[in-house]
């Protein structure tokens, strides 16, 4: 059997250490003595303090000013309208006020000469853990995975750290908003769409809850095999699979009943009181169709089961990850289910898959007219989002569509296209200035504006670069 690299590996699992063989964290084997426990506590406190120092960004944040800005003589790429060469874009109070060759520059506006430069709408990453994770291997810095299988009441927006060092690292490459999502279990929690600037989680939230996230139960014994290895293992796998499905169905059944009870009592106070339940309460907007469900499923069998589940429960479904998406196109098309693809820079799930399976999915959806967006499914390296999209373009997706998959398409799928995702008068001034096509690695992002605010082009990494460039 060959060594397998996991499809969506954490970097620490990529063959570069003992962790490659499956990290198992076992609690301390012996119960420490009181004195050693005390020492341990002191040590932990110190360690946490030290980490706190390193894990908190001291990078300057947005300054709260939303000046009137005019970028002149630039190539403006609105995404939803044709490219405008030698044009001007004006924004004020955080909103775009004019775009065009003859757009007037208001008096008192800050004028930026855009000669030789381009202006794009800020990119949107449809799936990250930004703000929830600082150092993967240090549990104290991670708030991605709650205990247990069912956590619909875990809200990402509650735990976003606005001062994470990941935020400036990501935004200075032109990514201005991201979906940040919990992970793990069967129902992981509810994600938020956040802008990558702000002093409090509330200032960062564009939409929360954005979606409920389900890791759809998978029927297999090894992560890569389509079929279990032997009969005993198959039996075991089937049992655990149906148990997980039952849990999921029960949750939705209970949530429906809860929603019914709640609405009945709301209409008539004489209806019997019901016990409040935070978990079921968090499900009410989901079962009432106000909050969509992002179902993470990768292989054909799981995707089909997920679609069937969504049909049964009448869920507003968005499919995510979905390496086998090309095999279920008619089913998605019939139901108008949008898809979040990615990470694109990942290996095909099976040994005999075409080497470019993951790269070609976007174009197949594009040809079929299925709505889709692209995610990095990353945290630290979400800055590479445009290169995930570019790889799809290298394998057939038109370049302008690749750009849409990380701008206007996610905005449409998440119901925020009236605010972000393109350069249009009246929309938020989430945009960046670059010296070329942002999907090319060699392009440099020069300036970033989020909600009209001028974002400092520094990060923890640029400061380290400056510091050590000056080492004598």
């Amino acid at each position: 059997m060959v060594r397998r690299t996991f499809c969506h590996p954490e970097p620490a699992q990529r063959g570069e250490g003992p962790v490659a063989n499956g990290a198992t964290s076992v609690p301390h084997e012996t119960d420490p003595s009181p004195s050693s426990r005390l020492r341990m506590t002191a040590f932990l406190a110190l360690a946490l303090a030290a980490l706190q120092l390193s894990a908190q960004s001291v990078i300057l944040n947005n300054n709260g000013k939303k000046p009137t800005v005019a970028i002149r003589n630039a190539m403006i790429v609105p995404v939803t309208a044709p490219v405008c060469n030698n044009c001007t874009i004006v924004f004020s109070e955080g909103k775009i006020t004019a775009i065009g060759a003859n757009a007037a520059v208001p008096g008192g506006a800050v004028v930026i000469d855009g000669t030789g430069l381009r202006v794009y709408p800020g990119m949107i990453d449809s799936g990250t853990h930004i703000g929830l994770s600082e150092v993967d291997s240090v549990p104290g810095t991670n708030d991605v995975t709650e205990l247990g299988d069912l956590n619909p009441n875990a809200f990402a927006a509650v735990a976003v750290n606005p001062h994470s060092n990941l935020i400036p690292v990501t935004r200075i490459n032109g990514i201005t908003s991201v979906v940040t999502k919990p992970d793990g279990g069967i129902v992981s929690g509810q994600s938020a769409l956040i802008q990558l600037s702000g002093w409090t989680p509330k200032e960062m939230v564009i939409k929360s809850p954005l979606a409920l996230h389900i890791n759809f139960p998978r029927l297999r014994t090894a992560s890569f095999d389509e079929q279990p290895q032997d009969e005993e293992a198959e039996k075991e796998a089937r049992k655990s699979y149906s148990e997980q499905l039952d849990k999921l169905r029960d949750l939705f059944r209970d949530a429906n009943a809860y929603a019914k009870a709640a609405s009945a009592r709301m209409k008539d106070v004489n209806v019997k009181r019901y016990d409040r339940d935070v978990m079921l309460e968090s499900m009410v907007p989901v079962v009432q169709g106000q909050v969509p469900v992002i179902i993470h499923a990768n292989l054909e069998r799981d995707i089909r089961a997920a679609i069937k589940f969504a049909d049964e429960e009448k869920i507003k479904m968005i499919l995510a990850d979905a390496d086998d998406v090309a095999r279920v196109i008619p089913d998605l098309k019939k139901r108008d289910i949008p898809v979040i693809l990615g990470p694109i820079l990942s290996l095909p799930p099976r040994e005999d898959d075409p080497y470019d399976l993951v790269f070609t999915n976007a174009q197949k959806l594009n040809e079929a007219g299925i709505r889709f967006a692209i995610q990095s499914d990353d945290a630290h390296n979400a800055r590479n989002l445009p290169y995930h999209a570019a790889m799809c373009a290298a394998f057939g997706l038109p370049k302008d569509v690749a750009l849409k998959a990380i701008t206007i398409y996610p905005a449409q799928i998440f119901g925020v296209a009236d605010r972000i995702g393109s350069l249009e008068v009246g929309k938020r001034a989430d945009l960046f200035i670059s010296d070329g096509d942002p999907l090319e690695i060699t392009t440099n992002v020069k300036r970033v504006f989020i909600d009209g605010e001028d974002i400092p082009m520094d990060s923890y990494q640029t400061l380290l670069y400056k510091k050590f460039s000056q080492r004598p």
């Binding site: 079929q227 080497y355 670069y465």
Partner: protein, 456 residues
């Protein structure tokens, strides 16, 4: 009895690869009218490369290079040719675990003994232009196993993957992995020394000191024998044999490391004990001590992106490559990943964005510099006459995210070709269908047969 599908499919893939290889094996192949990125002598527009006998026989502008009679000519108008990509940090094709996890020093074991030529990721890497790799032991031990330099000759017997004049190499590891910071051993395997960076240093120091005693004992034995005495030979120790060969300069040290303090620790130890470090791997804080690394003549192989996955990777910056390269460190981008190994060209390109390396400097990061660190620059890493014909044809500049590999050659033979790959998919799908049907039919027959027996 069910035949696991993956085995069947793997064999099919092998058959395809062999077929593809045979097509050009006997011929002289000429690539015409391409933009040639030679790495050592600039870019040739409308250029020609002639491959003969597995070597580059000629390279230059179309106007100056004649096409030999009977040559197989590839018109590469608008396309780019670069040398095969070299990945100095791979675990692809290792069968089973990459770590002999049981000892702080497991230097006696050899990765070359546990390679398989059936790992599909090798083919996927060829499809990303990678042709040569240093396949390393894992980083669970301060001194891990010996590593293996191979060419990705997918579909050929493993013996042909090994490069005859490649040096012997060994993996060292510093920091969180050898001190088991993020890891508990599986049941049945005890906790292992060391648990600190102090202990890591001690393991390495102790191993070398023991090796020095061991060498002295053998020297004494040899001297006595020469004098005609009849001495008792020292006990052979496979680990100390290896450590001795490192001290003799016969084995190159490739060391996993992250933090600047541990990097300096190893460099200091090498000065003190008289061994040489060839390449520091990952070396995420190399930029903090770049001048010390350069002064020791040690190379650096790093990631551009990965940071924050461990505490010791928190200060990793994408500018590391540029800062080390500028300080005079022979720097490479390497993968440590079956996935990343398919696009090292793009990691090289990132050094232009992060730190402003020139295109020529950036190109070397995934070609010539790797060849140098593997001591194979006399045959790999650039497009020069006499070097191995390990070449990649791209649809556009390999630093453009929109480019794709068309064809990958190793020693003049085709190991990946996109057009062939696309054609073979149809055949593969048909063969898969047929085999599954045959299998189902046979199962049906067996069941029927059993029934008849029981009825009888």
């Amino acid at each position: 009895m069910k035949v696991p599908m993956k085995v069947t499919m793997r064999k099919l893939a092998l058959a395809i690869s062999l077929f593809a290889t045979a097509a050009f094996a006997e011929n002289v192949t000429v690539i015409r009218d391409a933009t040639i990125l030679t790495v050592t002598h600039g870019k040739i527009e409308h250029g020609t490369v002639v491959m003969r006998g597995g070597k580059i026989a000629a390279v230059g502008p179309d106007s100056e290079i004649a096409v030999p009679a009977g040559a197989n000519v590839i018109n590469a108008s608008g396309k780019y040719v670069m040398p095969g990509i070299i990945d100095t940090h791979s675990h692809t094709s290792v069968e089973g675990s990459v770590n002999e996890i049981s000892l702080p020093n497991s230097g006696a074991v050899r990765i070359g003994d546990v390679l398989t030529n059936e790992d599909i990721n090798v083919y996927r890497e060829l499809a990303g232009g990678t042709t040569t790799a240093l396949v390393l032991h894992g980083s669970a031990n301060s001194i891990g196993g010996q590593s293996q330099i191979v060419k990705w000759k997918y579909g050929r017997p493993l013996a042909e993957w090994f490069i005859p004049d490649a040096p012997r190499t060994i993996k060292f590891a510093l920091g969180e992995n050898p001190k088991s910071s993020n890891f508990r051993p599986p049941p049945g395997i005890p906790l292992q020394y060391p648990a600190t960076r102090m202990g890591v240093e001690e393991v390495i120091r102790d191993s070398f000191l023991k090796a020095k005693d061991y060498m002295a004992a053998w020297d004494e034995y040899d001297a006595k024998k020469k004098r005609g005495e009849n001495p008792i030979p020292p006990r052979r120790d496979l680990m100390l044999d290896v450590m001795s060969d490192i001290l003799r300069g016969k084995i190159d040290v490739h060391s996993h490391c992250y933090r600047s303090d541990e990097i300096l620790m190893l460099l200091n130890l090498s000065d003190e004990l008289g061994f040489k470090v060839r390449e520091l791997h990952h070396v995420l804080e190399g930029y903090k001590v770049a001048k010390e690394i350069a002064a020791h003549g040690v190379g650096g192989g790093t990631f551009i992106d990965w940071w924050g996955f461990k505490a010791e990777a928190y200060d990793a910056i994408p500018y590391n490559v540029a800062l080390m390269d500028r300080a005079g460190v022979v720097t490479v981008v390497n993968s440590d990943s079956d996935e990343l190994a398919r696009r090292l060209n793009l990691d090289a390109a990132k050094s232009m964005k992060y730190g402003g390396l020139s295109e020529d400097e950036a190109l070397k990061l995934c070609t010539l510099n790797g060849a140098k660190l593997l001591r194979l620059d006399h045959r790999l890493g650039s497009i020069d006459v006499g070097k191995d014909a390990d070449l990649v044809i791209w649809t556009g500049h390999p630093f453009s995210t929109y480019s794709r590999v068309e064809t990958t050659f190793i020693e003049g033979d085709v190991y990946f070709d996109r057009a062939k790959d696309l054609a073979m998919r149809v055949e593969l799908a048909k063969e898969k269908r047929d085999r599954l049907k045959k299998e189902a039919d046979e199962e049906g027959k067996n069941k029927k047969g059993k029934k008849e027996v029981s009825n009888g």
